[in-house]
């Protein structure tokens, strides 16, 4: 197994004006690792995730994907944030799944999944559609390939969102609270899909409220509180035996 981390985050700070949301986050994700980010609202977990693919611009810090510096151009000693245009190829290597699904309503399910493969990665129509079919099969949505997003339930839409990310053949998958916007009875179909993908050995960073899911699926869990990693460790250990008070309080509240 390759020992270079797929993702390395160093000294990540993010402020919105006066408000400092991330106060120095550092961690690494090795190939095939699944890491869950948990924590109370406002702890900065979504912000942290969104900084990785630069949907939010970090105030300070270094993010490296497979060794390459993300989002920052170094030119003759000076650093500059990349424009959206320059970021595009880097983002293409990371697959993001959104809380609000964000499927494109004017495209069918198949087109939603295939379009990036065609336009970003340059595959031909046949290749892209084949890729889309594989991705849809993995999320058990093959029979809806020609449906429109508005015809699907929330759980179905989110699975299509996952397929869309898979079709990027990404080095890293980023899940931003993928089930928080779903009705309770639809949550499991999405969690099951994520679990199956995890078992395939994909590298994943997962922001979630579903603690028992994190415990079962993640290798490591990081507990965020007030913008720093309060505690981290192997999933079962941290959740069954939290050491820090903040962690203990949080887990106690969530399990009620």
């Amino acid at each position: 197994m390759d020992d270079q981390p797929i993702l390395s985050v160093r000294g990540l700070h993010k402020s919105y004006g006066e408000l400092e949301v991330l106060k120095g986050i550092e961690f690494e994700v090795k190939p095939g690792e699944k890491i869950a980010l948990i924590g109370p609202s406002g702890s900065g977990k979504s912000t942290c995730l969104r900084c990785i693919n630069f949907l939010e611009t970090p105030t300070l810090g270094e993010i490296r994907l497979d060794g390459d510096l993300v989002g920052i151009k170094k030119h003759r000693g000076a650093s500059r944030n990349m424009s959206n245009k320059d970021l595009a190829p880097q983002r293409a290597q990371m697959g993001m799944v959104f809380q609000g699904f964000n499927l494109w309503p004017h495209l069918t399910v198949r087109e939603n999944v295939a379009i990036a493969a065609r336009k970003v990665q340059g595959l031909s129509r046949e290749e892209a559609h084949a890729l889309a079919e594989d991705a849809l099969a993995k999320v058990h949505m093959s029979n809806k390939a020609d449906a429109w997003p508005e015809q699907l339930s929330g759980g179905q839409q989110q699975r299509v969102g996952i397929a869309r990310a898979l079709a990027q053949r990404p080095k890293l998958m980023l899940f931003d609270e993928p089930t928080s916007a779903l009705d309770p009875e639809l949550v499991n179909e999405v969690l099951n899909v994520i679990q199956e993908l995890a078992a395939e050995g994909r590298t994943m960073l997962l922001v979630t409220h579903e603690i028992s899911f994190a415990r079962n699926v993640a290798d490591r869990v990081m507990f965020l509180h007030s913008g720093i990693i309060e505690e981290q460790g192997p999933a079962r250990d941290l959740i069954d035996n939290p050491q820090r008070d903040f962690t203990k309080n949080f887990l106690r509240q969530v399990s009620q």
Binding site: P89, R91, M94, F98, P105, I115, E150
Partner: protein, 224 residues
């Protein structure tokens, strides 16, 4: 009453062809003016969305100016005013440019409304799969904007079509001017202008109904 109506039939073959030809001119300047307005309006809307303060200021100033100046004033300025500093436009050129410039401001607002209706998540998911900003705009955002603005666009076109009658006042041989000419030849202004009105109605009404239909459909499809 019957006498009143019989006049229409009496002169139908003399008025009909002339007014029809003039109506074609009205339609032509309307389409061309609308084309100018759409292209310029989209540019203005995009300028307002960039991060550049200068572009934003220029776009907003443009829209503010044309919100306050009547279309007729623009047409008269272009056709009668500019020759004073050496710029000469033909009547049709002045009409198309004038309508285009004036309605670009309105189209910019229509486009802006369309863009604002697109949730931020659409931009984010497009960026997240690795589309460049230009690709995001072209493949994901604009197709949705077009759907949303169909109804207001048609309404704007109908309004522009009505204002094309102002071109009569800068001597363009369109429907209303032809009506005026006929009125001075036949001394039957009431009948002639009613006919003119009916012709505008025949073009504008179906478009207005189509716009209403589209607007109703868009409102009932709001889901997710």
């Amino acid at each position: 009453m019957l006498d009143f109506l019989s006049v229409f039939f009496q002169y139908a073959d003399q008025w009909g062809p002339r007014l029809a030809r003039a109506a074609v001119v009205s339609a032509q300047i309307s389409f061309m003016g609308f084309l100018v307005a759409t292209v310029l309006g989209l540019a203005l809307a995009l300028m307002r969305m960039t991060k550049s303060r200068t572009f934003q200021a220029i776009a907003r100033a443009y829209i503010l100016v044309f919100r306050g100046v009547p279309v007729l004033a623009v047409l008269l300025l272009l056709y009668f005013g500019l020759p004073g500093i050496g710029i000469l436009f033909s009547p049709i050129e002045a009409a198309v440019i004038g309508l285009g410039l004036a309605y670009a401001a309105q189209m910019a607002e229509v486009f802006r409304g369309g863009f604002q209706a697109i949730l931020a998540g659409q931009w984010e998911s497009a960026a997240a799969v690795g589309f460049t900003p230009w690709q995001s705009l072209r493949l994901i955002i604009l197709p949705q904007v077009v759907r949303i603005i169909m109804a207001p666009v048609i309404v704007t076109f109908v309004t522009l079509l009505k204002d094309s009658s102002l071109a009569a006042l800068i001597t363009v041989n369109e429907l209303l001017l032809e009506g005026r000419a006929l009125a001075s030849e036949y001394f039957l202004p009431l009948h002639i202008y009613i006919w003119v009105g009916a012709m505008y109605f025949a073009i504008a009404f179906p478009l207005s109904m189509m716009a209403k239909h589209l607007a109703n459909r868009a409102n009932s499809r709001v889901r997710q």
